[in-house]
């Protein structure tokens, strides 16, 4: 689907950029919205900034673009300090949430605008526009105005306008949020393909954790202008640093159950309030030993409370049988979500297959305790 070279120039010669953001602060008047953020993006890396609405993702991205002044800290692209460099000299391209296509220009002019502003020769602009349009399969739309395009087509043009420029860094601010669900998935794949073929350093802002997980090489999770965790999707999923990240990554969201760690003769257990004790596997016992006798928050993902055994869990005997009272079940096709009661807590489980158990019945599932998490009830930090 996406073929060929970088639209113009030789792909081998293309500069790749790394971006360093250090101790970044932003204040709007008296309102501090970014509180000392540090992260680094390697050459050709796809970094996703994710977090709930209002956490400062767009603000950070716009500071990197130069559209917003920096209150404190540094933005460095390829060893060049960018704080006071105007956007046009940063060699970046940005895809905006509302696309920001130039309404009075044709698609062709939109695609070529960046090159024209850089005084590229006419023939080169034309060749690049043609290549870009080919890459994104929008050749047929070149003479239309943005008004005459569908949302998905506008999206493509917006991306095309960015790649035609051949920038060192791509910035995306929630580029898919105005598309319907199906198109969103399609364009997500498209963006991923583009990145895999061109390997341009990219920073992508979204509040959708699925987008973050599927696209990112690494993810920065933000909350209230602070970094909660930086890591690969696997790291964030398997080893969330705190309850916020654990709850933010993964869908449906992780179950959090008030519980207590207790030590019994033959091992360590975690006891949900009002529920049955669950054995902590030996692999985790040492780590959790020192919390014996303390209240904790038990975190376990819906997909880890299920009706199947994995080879691993069987071998390690880490799957604990768990009897739950079914309240509602929602068949999704491949899986069934089971909303059930465990002690005082309401939990979601994910059973494979369409076998929707009846409301009110009790069923036995397996809790894969080797994937359990414990969090400090006060600080929310992973234990």
């Amino acid at each position: 689907m996406i073929t060929g070279q970088w639209p113009y120039g030789q792909s081998e010669e293309r500069a790749v950029a790394h971006v360093v953001v250090s101790q970044l602060y932003k204040k709007y008047g008296e309102l501090q919205v970014v509180h000392g953020v540090d992260f680094e993006i390697g050459d050709g890396e796809f970094m996703v900034l994710v977090g709930p609405s209002g956490c400062g993702k767009s603000t950070i991205l716009r500071m990197i673009a130069g559209l917003e002044g920096v209150t404190g800290g540094e933005i460095v692209i390829n060893d060049r300090m960018m704080n006071d460099v105007p956007p046009r000299d940063r060699d970046i391209a940005m895809v905006f949430q509302d696309y920001a296509l130039y309404p009075h220009m044709s698609v062709r002019q939109n695609l070529g605008f960046g090159l024209k502003m850089r005084n590229a020769p006419r023939a080169e602009v034309e060749a690049t526009v043609r290549k870009t349009a080919e890459t994104l399969q929008i050749e047929a739309l070149l003479d239309r105005k943005p008004k005459q395009l569908s949302g998905g087509q506008r999206q493509r043009v917006a991306i095309g306008r960015a790649i035609a420029r051949e920038p060192q860094v791509f910035l995306f601010d929630e580029p898919l949020s105005n598309l319907d669900a199906k198109l969103r998935v399609e364009m997500r794949t498209q963006i991923k393909r583009l990145h895999m073929s061109f390997k341009v350093t990219s920073i992508y802002v979204t509040h959708d954790q699925t987008e973050a997980m599927t696209l990112a090489d690494r993810i920065v999770v933000l909350r209230d202008g602070r970094i909660e965790q930086v890591g690969t999707p696997e790291e964030l999923y398997a080893r969330p640093a705190n309850r916020f990240v654990a709850g933010f990554i993964g869908s449906p969201t992780m179950n959090f159950i008030e519980a207590q760690v207790v030590e019994e003769g033959n091992g360590l257990r975690v006891v949900p309030v009002g529920g049955p004790p669950l054995a902590i596997p030996k692999s985790r016992a040492q780590r959790y030993q020192r919390h014996a006798g303390r209240p904790v928050i038990l975190g376990i993902r819906p997909e880890d409370v299920t009706n199947t055994w994995t080879e691993e869990s069987r071998a390690r005997e880490s799957a604990v049988p768990l009897d739950v009272a079914v309240e509602i079940s929602e068949p999704l096709g491949s899986d069934t979500l089971i909303f059930a009661r465990l002690g005082n807590a309401e939990i979601v489980c994910r059973a494979s297959g369409m076998s929707a158990p009846v409301s009110g019945s009790a069923i036995r599932l397996n809790a894969h305790m080797d994937r359990m998490h414990l969090f400090d009830p006060e600080s929310g930090m992973a234990l």
Binding site: A65, G66, L67, P86, P87, R88, R90, I92, A93, M94, F96, D98, A100, L101, Y102, P103, H104, M105, F113, G114, M117, R118, R161, R165
Partner: protein, 309 residues
């Protein structure tokens, strides 16, 4: 399939609003008062003017006969080419200056508002106050500004700066420009207001995209601001043309059309023909000419409206 639905809908509306006025279905009912008002205040006087243009009426003699001599007299009048030229120059210069100045002021104001500079609303009020000043008052104000007697403000400034005074109103080559300046002073506020409204609705993300795309401020103005303002600029041009074409209240106290006929625009010429020469029929002919030109501009305006906005 829609037959049932249509019948259903009809009977439903029929029963629910049995006694209601079906205003949407009877436009005449609610258009009638407006039509009557327009007829009495606009159409009838206009028709009457057209009727007088086909007579030999004067203000001094109540008797008149129907004739087309007035048209011939006006067209053959040796004054007409000069009048038309003055009118053309007055309108074109006013339109260009009001567009340019209006745009500059609107952009400055827009910047000021976006940066939350203090005093912006004061500036806006001052500019608007120029617009609400009646034409006659503006003419008098500028007559004092340009006055070549010792109290004339501009010449006092020039003298203070060690420059020789200018014959603002008595030099036939300068008087028209003085009239243009006074008219622009009054009209810029309107132009500014329209253009400011146009600037406000340009999405700021277009400028952001352009600046990321490498456009300098000047290129942003050329490639974003101007094309985005195009419809407003066109409509503004037409409206200013109509306003300026019909201006005589400003010039009357300023120069009275002089020196000679240097500032006698068509509207003022019409006024003078009727109220100074008491020649009602020739004045009516000139009024018809004015009306025709205005109608042409209005048609352009009407054509532009739906397409451009």
């Amino acid at each position: 399939m829609s037959q049932d639905a249509a019948v259903g809908a009809a009977s439903r509306t029929g029963s629910r609003h049995k006694k209601a006025w079906h205003l949407a279905e009877r436009p005449l009912v609610w258009l009638a008062p407006l039509t009557l008002l327009l007829f009495v205040t606009y159409v009838y006087p206009a028709i009457d003017v057209i009727r007088y243009s086909f007579t030999d009426a004067t203000l001094l003699n109540p008797e008149y006969a129907y004739t087309t001599d007035s048209f011939k007299a006006v067209i053959r009048s040796p004054d007409l080419p000069g009048i038309l030229w003055v009118t053309f120059a007055f309108v074109v210069a006013s339109v260009i200056l009001q567009l340019v100045l209006g745009l500059l002021v609107a952009m400055a104001l827009h910047r000021g508002v976006r940066r939350r500079l203090p005093g912006v609303s004061v500036v806006r009020i001052i500019i608007l106050s120029a617009w609400i000043v009646p034409g006659v008052a503006a003419g008098i104000v500028w007559q004092l500004m340009f006055n070549e007697a010792s109290y004339g403000f501009l010449n006092a400034v020039l003298r203070g700066a060690g420059l020789s005074p200018v014959a603002w109103l008595s030099d036939p080559n300068i008087a028209l420009w003085s009239a243009v300046i006074a008219n622009v002073w009054r009209g810029t506020a309107f132009s500014m207001l329209l253009l400011y409204a146009g600037l406000v609705v340009i999405p700021s993300s277009l400028y952001e995209a352009a600046s990321v795309d490498g456009a300098t401020a000047l290129k942003q103005f050329w490639y974003i601001t101007l094309p985005q303002l195009r419809p407003i600029l066109l409509i503004n041009t037409v409206l200013i043309s109509i306003f300026t074409l019909n201006t005589f209240d400003l010039i009357l106290p300023l120069t009275g059309g002089g020196p000679g006929r240097a500032t006698e625009v068509l509207a003022l010429y019409t006024y003078n023909t009727v109220f100074r020469n008491f020649d009602l029929s020739n004045g009516a002919v000139l009024a018809v000419v004015l009306l025709l030109i205005s109608i042409v501009f209005t048609l352009i305006y009407v054509r532009l409206l739906p397409r451009e906005l």
